[in-house]
Assembly symmetry: C2
Homo-oligomer: 106 residues x 2
DNA sequence: ATAACTACTTCATCAGACGTAGTACTTCTG
DNA sequence: CAGAAGTACTACGTCTGATGAAGTAGTTAT
């Protein structure tokens, strides 16, 4: 429904948002994004997992292995303080983007 | 002010918007984007000109050389019917994006 | 047992953005 | 009138993040 180029800048924001209140893992985050967006946006698996790698490398999230499982072993992610700061920053940027883009809508 | 990854999906929309009512050229469009966004977003020259090339190749705009000049010869761009349709489509997508992303803002 | 679901990984490719640099012509400024 | 600044565009190589295809591996439903 929504193309990935327009969402490209918000994948990180979405992931960080879903980690704000509890740790989570790929499959679940993927599901939540699909659900919250009412199927309007589905993040590709490869996009999601490569985002995890990137965010972890940059110190915005950390990972650990979970115990319970319904299939292959889950990797849980936890947001760091830097991650929370990044999230807040991205929220501010989003406000700006909305203002700017809206002025190009007829 | 605003990073380019978050604007990536809207460069085409902005350019098409500025061509809706009159033909224009690179330098001028660049200026207008800077102005309308109150300096919050400045599209890089290379981004702009490569967007022109792409949009023209795909039939959304056409180009011709202008006569008046204040420097090097201007290339003017005109939006096509397909371009107008694309613009309307992108506006609709933008509405969706706003709805979706807003649900990930705390 | 086997299909479907959960969960993740690897790898190669691609589009679009960007930095750097250069061309070319006009206008402003001292 | 020379040099700086502004107008206008082009070429080229690089990088990031998204993607497709395919595979691994365990669990649950039929």
């Amino acid at each position: 429904m929504i193309g990935s180029d327009v969402m490209r800048g918000y994948n990180d924001l979405m992931i960080l948002f879903l980690l704000l209140h509890e740790d989570s893992y790929g499959y679940e985050i993927s599901r939540q994004i699909r659900e919250i967006s009412h199927e309007k946006y589905v993040m590709k698996e490869t996009t999601l997992y490569s985002a995890f790698t990137r965010l972890e490398k940059l110190g915005y999230i950390t990972s650990y292995f979970g115990t319970e499982t319904n299939g292959k072993r889950r990797t849980y992610y936890r947001i760091t303080e830097e991650g929370r700061a990044l999230y807040r920053e991205k929220c501010g940027e989003w406000k700006l983007v909305k203002e700017v883009v809206d002025d190009f809508i007829e």
